[in-house]
Structures are given as C-alpha cells and as structure tokens.
Homo-oligomer: 494 residues x 2
C-alpha cells in the first residue's frame, strides 16, 4: 500500500512507524508486527520496522508517521510516498537460536544475521538474543573472523588511499580514560593519517564521541570525513553516523541497554572499524584491574586474540596492557573529561598526570609502530610534540574542521560539593560505581553533567575539604545522583 | 512532576509513554529512558515504562500520553493526574547476567527478577535476556521451584474453596491440538470444578484463549471468573487478563516474539497457574514427535520433572505422552479449530476422529485421577458424557456465562483452495510449517483466518481434489500466505 510520510518530531530511541488503525486493518498488521517500508525514489531502499497503531486523528488514513530514528535511517522527507507491506519472517532468528544452542555458525549464517541487523529486520529484543547468544558460549576465532567480515561487508569502506593510516582503540570500561583526543593530534602532527571514529559510551559515562560532541559536530558522512582528514590528517568523529559499520552501531545500541559487551562482538567491533578505515598501524589499549572491564588473565587472553586477528588481517598491531586502579584524570562525563584533555594539550595549562602519562605511552608506541620514531624513542617524540604546542594546534585544527570552537565550557548548573566529614587518606575510588554515579547524574546524554574528583587514591584530605563535585543539568537528576552517592559510597577514605 | 493522562487510542503492543520534549527536558529523561508513573488515587500503584519523546503539539507540556497497554495495566482515566519520575536502575539485570554466566540463582534473586517483570521495570530486551539465560543453561529443579514460587507470590490466588478443583494442560506446539474446550465441559459435567485459564498461542497459530475469543469474552477479573465458575463449575478464560500470574503473561509475550520457550519457564508457567488456581488434580499433555515441540526422549525427561514438581507441591498429577505426527483435527486457526470442537461436542454432528479420541483419553484420565471414575473406567464415562450431549450443554452454559453465543461462524472472506496436481497419498503434513503458514495468513490475531486440511496423512487424493483451503481477513495476508505455501510445501503427496 502506498502511504505518505508524516513526521511528528517523534523520538522513540528506536526505529518505529505509526499507522492509523484503519490503514493497519487494510494491510493486515497488528501492533508490534513488522512492516517493510520501501522508498519509491530512484535509489530504492527497503527497511523493516515494528509498528504502533493509533486510532486518534493525529495520523490520517493515507499517512504513515515515522520516528526520527527511522526518518534519519532512510533520509525520508515529509509528504514523500513510500510502499508499505507486511515484512516476511527472517531466517536469522533460526541461526541465533542455533548459536544459543552452542552450535557453530557458518560464514553465510553470520552474514545473514548481520544483514538483517543492518536492514532493521531484527527487533531490539531479537538483537538482544543474538548478543546474549554470543555472550554465553562465545564464538570461536573462526566465527569471530566471519563476524568481522560480515560487518565490513554490510558496511562501507573509507578508501583513503594512504599507506600511513594509523589508529588506536581502547576496549573501554574505565571512567575518564580519555586518551584518544590527546593521542590523535600528537600522531597527526607527526604525519600519521588518523581517521578516528569513536563510539559513544557503552558501559561508562562518556565515550570519545560524547566528549568531542560538547564542542564540535561529530556526525559526518564519509565524503565529509574525507574532506576533514585531507585538511588536518585526522578527525575525531562518531562512528555511528558514518555508516561504515552500521551493524556494529546497532548491536552496540542494544549492548548499551543490556550493559553487556560479549568478547566476540568487542573484537569484531574494533577490528571491523579498522578494516573499514583501511588502518595499517593499530595500537590496542587494554586497561585491566579489579573494577575495570577485564582482570589481568582475561586481558592477556584478549591480547593474544587481538594479535591473532592482526596477523590474520595483515595489520601492524600492538596491544598495550595497563593496570587501571581508579578512574583516569579528574573529570568524569563528556564536558568534564574534555577539560582534562585541554588542560593536558595546552602547554600553558596543567592537566592530570595519570592521563597525560598514559596518552604519551600509547602515542609513543604508535609512532614507533608506524616508523615515525625509532624503537624506544616514540615516547620522547610524543612528549616533544605535546610540550611544543603542536598537538594543541592540531587539536584546534581538527575541532575547527568539524565545525567547532574552543569556547569556555559551562558545566551543569545544578551542582553539589561532597565534603569530607573526617580527615584521612583516599584509599579507593571504585571505577564501576563512579561510572554508575555519573550516568545517574545524566551522562552521557547530558553533556555538561558529571563528576569532578578533587583527590585521587593516596591523597590526604582534611575534614571540610571537597572530595567530589556532582554536576547535573536538571534538579531532578542531581537529587537522584546524591541519593545514589550515599547508597554506593564510591570513594573510601581512611 | 505531576502530569495529566492523555490517551491517543495508541496501541504499541507494549507499555510505553509519550512526553512532550519540553517536559522530558524538565524531568531529565531522554528517548527510550525509563520513567516511573505513580497514580495519585487512593490505591497507590507504581509502574515503570520506557518513554517516547515528541516535539509535535499532539501532546501538551503538562500531559503524558500512554499506550493502550499501559492504560489498561494501571486502569488509567483520561485527565487523571499521575506523578512522573526517572526510574531508578534495577538490580535484576545483574542477576540475569549471573544466570547468563551459568551461575545458580537464589530464591531472592529470582524473586527480584520476577518482581521487576511484574512492575514493568525490565524492558522487553531485558526480559529477552532473561528468557535466553534460562534457555541454554537451563535452571535446576531448585531454581525452577523458586521461579514457580516467585511467579505465584507476585500474583494473585483464586481461592475457590473447593476440594474438587481439576485442570489439564498441554505443553503446546501442535497445530489444531484443541482438546481443552472438549475436556473441560466433559469433566465439569461430571462434577469437577475447572477454572481453566489458557494462554494465547506462543509458537502455534492459536491457543485455547484465541479459539474461545471467537465466540465469547475471555478477559475477566478474578471476581468475575468466580461468578462464572459458581454458575457452571468451569470457565474457559484467558490467563493473561486475570492477573493471577502477571509475570508469566509478560514473559510469554517476549517468548512469542522470540519464538522460544525455555524448559524452566515452561514448567513454571504451567505449575504456577495450577498453584494460583488451587488445582488438586492435574493432567499434563505432552505431545511429542519429529515436528512437535519435543521429541520422545525430551518428553520422557519433562514427564519426570512434572512428576517431581507435582510431588513437591502435593498435587495429584499425571503426565500423558502422545505421539504427534501431524496437526490435530482439520482446522488450524482460532475459528477453524472452534468448528472442529463444536463438531465433536454436538452429538448431531461429526468431528475429526483424532481430536475426539485424544480428548476422551485425557478427560478419562482426569476423571480417574479425581476419583469420578474407577481405574480403567474414565474413558468410558467421558464417552457417555460426550455422546449424551451433556458436555455440549455444559459448553454452551460456559460460553453463555462468558457473554457469548454459538452463532454461525463466518470464515475469512479471502480464501484460496489448493488443488492436487497429481493423484497420490498424503505422506506428510509438517506441523511446524502448518503453524508458520497459518500465522502468515493472520493467525492468531485474525480470528477467522487459518487453514482447513481436506485430508490427513494416509488419505488418497485425486488430481483436482482440494488438499487445503487458506482463509485470510485481508487480501494482502492471503497473498503472503500463498507465496509462503509454495515456498514451504507443508504437505507431501506421493
């Protein structure tokens, strides 16, 4: 049936369409059924989506309303005509159940699942089932390679045509671990090409994409990205909007909701992005520890797997393990982490030592890997680029190319200082609890919310000193965060 | 924040609320976040739900629109005031992940998950994760008992105060296996109390609830159900509306979508309903076979588990295994199965032999178990009640008490006869493919859609004979079903 697109400024967080009950009856669909939407323009595109049904006059019988997520996915215009039909059932649910039953999947089976993820033919609950099937039994290295190939196949390559493309990636999980916006300008200033696409936060309170979004655009098309990289050697964009690995973005969305991150998908997510970007030199950062995403044994196991994949895909890949005992830097949350980053990049300012040290270590390794520095000299070169202000200049160039500007950052207007009641030494700052607290305060969606840690582990505090400041963008969020702070007690003083 | 309820005749298949973007900003929620809705009436009730955000003037800033599913859940009235807040995160996701990691769950952990399911504090994707966690590693008998206790605890008991309460239950999976509407009137006519609540279809094209709904109401409150049972000794209602085991209904909804039915939940679903209903005598029907839900070995294993649970909960419980080689009866789909049932119940008509035989077997077993017939005499008694017309009278009483009437049934107006192209014998009718085909034709939501099998396995057909008729309520559904029939080939003739 042909219907006209209606747009209600309706945001559901997921792609969903809305039909008038009379239209639904005519097509033969019921609430929560799946329909296919085909655009009738020159570029024929088809997606499948679940449907809401409304009896109210909000929508007319000849219309279909789409959520903003779906509008964006198909690039729909108001009034545009589309062809609507009942979506036929997909085979991929059968393959997902096969995996759930601990059977191995073939390359074509994995490819079909990924295709259905990309086409929106699997609902969020069905993707949740896929994520869970990978979580429970895991995937073999063979299946992981199939997964990587499928994600790359059902996506787009950057085709940057340079032999100097380099990248770094962290497995995430540590609050405040914002090394990317420091490493990228250092390495780009040294001549490496760094088309860096980052994700938004999955389990933490901010991802690099969330941080950069506070001062610049992060959503670009592939041609736009190329223009930025041609101008500055680098970029700091959100991977989700690029559409280089759309399957990965959709799976990550469900993982975020479920707060799980199965290993095969973690490996595939990182490697598929590097393949699509055409990276030749890759540094993988694995922070480990009691409150990090992984403990040491698991970190060593992951290291092996990354090295195996690096070899398989013929990349120069190095894995760096670092112990994470507490959050990195002082700020937690998009804007607060950006402040830490700028304090490190700007030679006139002073930033948190731990974050600076780790960024220099990783940048140095990448410079050596790519042959920009001799063995053992990478860190020194990185330091020089940083202290000379060249990295800061490069950072400003990138931000400018992404339509941004380094303005003064105004944090969330609702804030609360937590005061030390009894003098003592900070003996623990729990990374997971800090993440959880920052999320309650509104991160990562509320960019100017978050936490500022006035002291790190080992520091002494006197009665009456501030230990942490909580920032929020709404009164309600601040209230919830204070309640949670008192419940979680993320810092121990003794 | 206090908001007024708005109702848009909006049906999403799931509970969901809609806020104006300005209201959302004030509360600090983003699309797909969870909010809590508290009613301000005398009876304080609170549920949690996901939220859509709309910038259109459809909703005003002081309003909250709720989907019909949510309106029903809370019994909301238009204009009613409710208190809205950000929903705090739940612990149950942690417990679900524990199960996903193959760890045992404690009674309090399972109880917490079930409570969150009932309170709507878990999203469908999160419930999908729970279902999947039970699916592969399964649950121990101890955990299954915790699950049953939790479902019963977070629900309501019938409290019928009779010692003669009996029930039968099939694990489902076989198309056309509509024995319940035959067994219930037979046993009720013999003096047993049968407050039968059934589910809608999970994996098949119709459940008993879907079938009865074609001619009578099936949604009742507990006091209404009691009135019906007092009048007729029995009822044939939908379990979902009663609210005796709301957790079960919600989990089943997700299982339907994912088309999986983990064993622990299957056991818990059946046993929790029997406990809440206060049943003393229970017959469990397990159809097994190549295309049934389970094969023989699994059926025997399930039998043991049901017997163990029967003992644990001090019930007189008997498990009957029957082989299912093809669909039962001739009709598949709510109205078509009802026709089979009436043809068996009405002594003046003739119904399908296989369905009649199986119904009499199960009814006989239940009559013996409850002491209404001596050992070995149950089937004979059931036959007498059926052929005398007493069962049909009882059925009509029940339907009348549920506000229904035996009118002529008009099947879906779009139909297609499939004709045999070459004479031969029917050698196979694939149960799963028949289910799938009937669902494509619109079952179970389209009550008058479905399939009529003109021949069963072993019967001879000549060229030009009808083999199957497909009924649909919309042209589009019929078209889809014909395409699928040609693809699936659910019948083999040789």
């Amino acid at each position: 049936m042909e219907l006209r697109i209606r747009f209600l400024k309706w945001s559901a967080g997921v792609p969903v369409a809305m039909l008038h009950s009379k239209t639904a009856a005519k097509i033969g669909v019921h609430a929560n059924d799946r329909i296919s939407i085909k655009t009738l323009s020159k570029k024929l595109e088809e997606v499948s989506t679940v449907v809401d049904i409304i009896g109210n006059k909000v929508i007319k019988t000849g219309e279909i309303a789409v959520s903003s997520e779906l509008k964006k996915r198909l690039g729909l215009r108001v009034g545009q005509k589309v062809e609507i039909n009942i979506a036929s059932a997909s085979d991929s649910l059968i393959f997902i159940k096969k995996k759930l039953n601990n059977k191995k999947l073939s390359e074509s089976e994995i490819s079909r699942i990924i295709q259905d993820v990309v086409d929106n033919s699997l609902s969020e609950s069905e993707i949740a089932l896929f994520v869970s099937s990978m979580y429970k039994h895991g995937m073999s290295m063979k299946e992981t390679i199939y997964l990587i190939n499928s994600i790359v196949k059902h996506g787009n390559k950057l085709n940057l045509k340079s032999k100097n493309i380099a990248d770094k990636h962290s497995i995430g999980g540590v609050a405040g671990n914002r090394t990317t916006p420091i490493i990228v300008p250092i390495c780009a200033a040294a001549g490496l090409i760094m088309p860096k696409s980052s994700s938004r936060a999955i389990t933490t309170s901010a991802g690099t994409a969330d941080v950069i979004e506070t001062i610049a655009r992060i959503e670009f098309s592939i041609p736009e990205l190329k223009k930025i990289v041609r101008k500055t050697n680098a970029c700091l964009v959100w991977g989700g909007s690029l559409g280089i690995v759309p399957a990965d973005s959709k799976i990550i969305k469900v993982e975020k909701m479920l707060k799980i991150d199965p290993e095969a998908q973690l490996l595939a997510s990182i490697m598929s992005k590097k393949l699509a970007a055409g990276s030749r030199y890759i540094i993988i950062d694995i922070p480990y520890g009691k409150h990090a995403k992984v403990e040491k044994a698991k970190a060593l196991d992951l290291k092996k797997k990354f090295e195996y994949l690096g070899k398989h895909f013929r990349k120069k890949l190095k894995v760096v393990l670092t112990e994470a005992k507490e959050p990195m830097g002082k700020g937690v949350g998009p804007a607060l982490e950006l402040i830490d980053v700028i304090n490190i990049l700007d030679p006139k300012l002073e930033g948190p030592q731990d974050l600076e040290k780790k960024s220099l270590l990783l940048a140095g390794e990448l410079l050596e890997l790519a042959g920009k520095a001799k063995k053992g000299r990478g860190r020194k070169l990185a330091e020089e680029i940083l202290s000379s202000g060249k990295a800061f200049e490069k950072f400003k160039q990138i931000i400018k190319a992404q339509g941004g500007k380094l303005n003064e950052i105004v944090l969330g207007k609702f804030q609360k200082n937590v005061i030390v009641k009894k003098s003592g030494k900070v003996i623990e700052i729990d990374i997971k609890k800090i993440n959880s607290l920052a999320r309650t305060a509104g991160c990562p969606a509320d960019k100017f919310a978050g936490l500022f840690l006035h002291a790190k582990t080992g520091e002494k505090l006197n009665k009456g000193n501030r230990i942490i400041t909580i920032y929020a963008e709404s009164k309600n969020r601040l209230k919830q965060a204070i309640i949670q702070y008192n419940k979680l007690k993320p810092l121990k003083i003794k």
